[in-house]
Structures are given as C-alpha cells and as structure tokens.
Subunit: 144 residues, 2 copies
Amino acid sequence: MPTATLSEPLSDELFFVMARASAIGSSHANRALATLQLKVREYSALVIACSDEAPTQRELSRQLALDPSQIVAIVDSLEKRGLVERRPDPRDRRSKIVVATEAGRELSAEARTLSAESDQESLSMLTADERATLHTLLAKVAFA
Amino acid sequence: MPTATLSEPLSDELFFVMARASAIGSSHANRALATLQLKVREYSALVIACSDEAPTQRELSRQLALDPSQIVAIVDSLEKRGLVERRPDPRDRRSKIVVATEAGRELSAEARTLSAESDQESLSMLTADERATLHTLLAKVAFA
C-alpha cells in the first residue's frame, strides 16, 4: 500500500484524497477477502446477486460503476465457482438476471463479516460520529 | 456514469459508497480534462512532477496508489508529449526523477482550473461546510 506521504500539491483536491482513501480501503478489503478467494469487486457483485433486486448484468454494471465487459468476467468467475447462476429475466426473456446460489449466499455472509471487520480497521482513526458523518456525506455525492 | 440507483445491500458499506462517489468524481474530471487530452491519472502525475518534490517513478507510484507498470506508461505518455522529462536523481544516480517541462507547467495550470471546476460540479449537492468536513475526514483516512 501507499505510504502516508502527503503530496502537498494534490492534497488540496478532495477527489484525489478520496481516491487515495478508497484505494486504502480496497487494499485492506482485498487482503481480508483473499481468505475466501474473493476480490472486492466479486464480493460486491455477489452481495447484489444475493439481494431481492435480481439484477441484470447491465444493472450490476451501473451499480458497481464498472464496464459491461468487466462485469461479464466477474459473473463468469462467480458462476464457474457455483456461487451465482444466470437465469432468464422474467421482465424481459432476452435478458438474463444474476442470482446467487445457496453456496453463494453462505459465502456472501462470511464475506460480509470479513469486509465489515476490514472497514473497521481502515477507519480506526475516526470516531463513530465521524464515520457516520463521512458515510452520510459520501452517500450524498454517490447517490445524488 | 452510473445512475443514482441505491443498492440497499451495499449502501450500508462506507467503502462501497466511497468507491461510487470516487468513480463519479473521476468520470466528471476525465470529461473536463479531455479538452486537454489528459486523463485524471496523467493529470495527477503531472501536478506532482510540477511540484518541488522531484519525484522518482517509485514515489509517484506510492503517491497515486498505482502499480509501477502503470506509472511507467503514464510517464512515457507525458514524456512523449514533451510535458515531463526523466532526469538522473541527484540523491541516487541509478534512479530517475520526473520533472515537468515549461510546457508541462503551463498545461498543468490550465488543467488545475478545469479539475477544480469539475470537482465543484461533482460536489454541488454539498454546502461549503460539508465539503470542508468531507475533505478533512477523507484526509484522516488517506494519510493516517
């Protein structure tokens, strides 16, 4: 991971600081999830596939802000491991939805625990109030 | 860019929300910087090369949280355009530092204006106080 060098010229730029914070969080989470052979992106897709949303690949792409080709690779990898299935979309038979299998749900539950622990670690320098404030402000930007 | 769909299962996770907010900011900035044929990562490397830090490629890699191979590609691209030069590092002659040229400094100044405008847009839903709070909290995470 990057060391704590503060680059004066860029530390004024909020989105530069955000990208660094985000890279640190992902790096911690990737290390934590490696014990389950999952990367953060696969984990995120799996969690959405476990929800009631019955996402299409296009919806996964939008939610995770990844290219459709990246989503195909992620879903292929999860499907090969028997964690998700592609099924016809009841709303549009030409489209497919991505649904977690029982094994996928079990792994997802374990992964959520690891991810939450990792996030606590990455945010250990903030008080509970500061974390809540940060979360609220980020959600305003992310879901404007 | 991703639409404002809120994925309930993941919106509880602070780093997921941060990754989305970060993707939205980068996407805006990439659009703004495209008029100067710059991407956010090239812009960031250029700004650091303009500073007094005289960074090596290794230092750029750490500061931008990118792989050394990604940094080489970015510096190659900036060098080909005459925006930066690789020079021997006075602290270690086997190593090279990356220094902006005059043309690089001029382009960097224009790019900073565009980047700042883009950030204002991406953060338009926040008050000035909220932006300052967000910046402070992110810096605690990014430079812990």
